[in-house]
């Protein structure tokens, strides 16, 4: 499955969302599909999701999309518990997992040796992170995530109001994608 094909389905859905794309070709691909002053190119590997989180928390009524990669996320795994803890309603975190450091000579990342980023996201507290297997499924999940409505807070923090998913894509033999959006703010103290 091609990352570009997934991005093509995302572009018309993104609207005026701010999009933060990781250091790598994903930035070139995204900017070709949706050129915009609202696209931000990350230079520090790993920081994509942190920058996106900062934007999302700073503009809670505006959608923010992170186009992340496995090499990037592996470099900043701390982002997962932080995102889970902050639970921004407006952040969509997409991870394209192609199991290599694509911009650095395509050496394998740890996901190429078996590390499961969806499992790590779930264990970090992004409870409904999951894989998606096709471009169509990606498109549907993205559409659902971007049109997710804000619901009233509940007393429990155990069940999110709108389901987050995690989308990651592998361009190697196992094609799988997972999309993540955290879409409910917990009323309990986060500190």
């Amino acid at each position: 499955m091609q990352r570009f094909a997934c991005l093509k389905t995302l572009a018309p859905l993104a609207g005026d969302a701010l999009v933060v794309s990781s250091a790598g070709a994903v930035t070139l691909e995204w900017n070709a599909l949706r050129p915009s002053g609202g696209n931000f190119r990350v230079r520090t590997l790993g920081l994509c999701s942190s920058i996106a989180l900062g934007m999302a928390l700073g503009l809670p009524e505006h959608k923010v999309i992170a186009l992340d990669g496995d090499g990037s996320l592996l470099m900043n795994l701390s982002t997962l518990p932080t995102i889970a803890r902050m639970k921004p309603k407006n952040l969509l975190h997409i991870v394209f997992d192609n199991e290599v450091y694509e911009a650095s000579g395509s050496k394998k990342t740890a996901t190429g040796a078996g590390t499961d980023l969806v499992g790590m996201a779930r264990a970090a507290g992004i409870e409904t992170a999951h894989w998606v297997d096709s471009v169509d499924a990606f498109a549907q999940a993205a559409k659902r995530a971007l049109s997710a409505r804000v619901r009233a807070l509940s007393a429990s923090r155990s069940v999110p109001s709108a389901l987050p998913w995690r989308l990651t894509q592998s361009t190697k033999s196992k094609t799988s994608t997972a999309l993540s959006v955290t879409s409910k703010r917990s009323p309990t103290s986060k500190f």
Binding site: T44, L47, I51, G54, G58, S78, F191
Partner: protein
């Protein structure tokens, strides 16, 4: 003043300087300050797991119009260096770095970290001010915010135990 009063003073100073978004990671000496940040109704508080995240989160906050500060220990500042260089300095993004000064004169255990803090700040070209008198908090933080916004570079404020109300101030400083 004691550490709780110092914490309130520092938070008031941050708010007075226009800060509305703070990313933090704890240190025992920052306990009261972080509690005051959490309790402040004027500050968005983002507790992180690793200080490098704070740099990205504050950069994102800045890009959408927030005025940000990152509170960490100097060891955490060392953790953040690549993010500081390739995001803040690269993109000319201002940020107030409130860095607890472990290994200051009189401390045990942290002399290596303490001894390298100022040289590393200097090497990165980050202007820094060692804060010793809590009474100066409001004015110095206000000035530091002017400097960071005007220069579009991070500015560091090194927080000493005296400043945090945890040790008696010396006339020497």
């Amino acid at each position: 003043m004691n550490s709780t009063e110092a914490a309130q003073t520092i938070v008031a100073a941050l708010c007075g300087a226009g800060i509305n978004f703070v990313a933090t990671l704890p240190d025992i000496n920052l306990s009261e300050l972080l509690q005051a940040v959490e309790e402040s109704r004027e500050l968005i508080h983002v507790p992180v797991c690793r200080e490098e995240e704070s740099i990205g989160i504050c950069a994102g906050g800045y890009l959408v119009g927030k005025k940000c500060a990152a509170i960490m220990q100097n060891g955490g500042f060392f953790n953040s260096n690549n993010a500081i260089v390739s995001t803040l300095l690269q993109y000319q993004i201002p940020l107030l770095l409130l860095i607890y000064y472990a290994g200051d004169v009189g401390d045990r255990t942290f002399s290596t970290t303490g001894g390298l803090t100022e040289p590393v700040l200097q090497a990165l070209g980050i202007r820094y001010y060692i804060m010793r008198a809590t009474e100066d908090a409001a004015e110095l933080i206000r000035r530091a915010q002017i400097l960071t916004e005007d220069s579009k570079r991070p500015v560091a404020l090194l927080l000493t135990k005296e400043f945090l109300g945890r040790r008696a101030a010396l006339r020497a400083f």
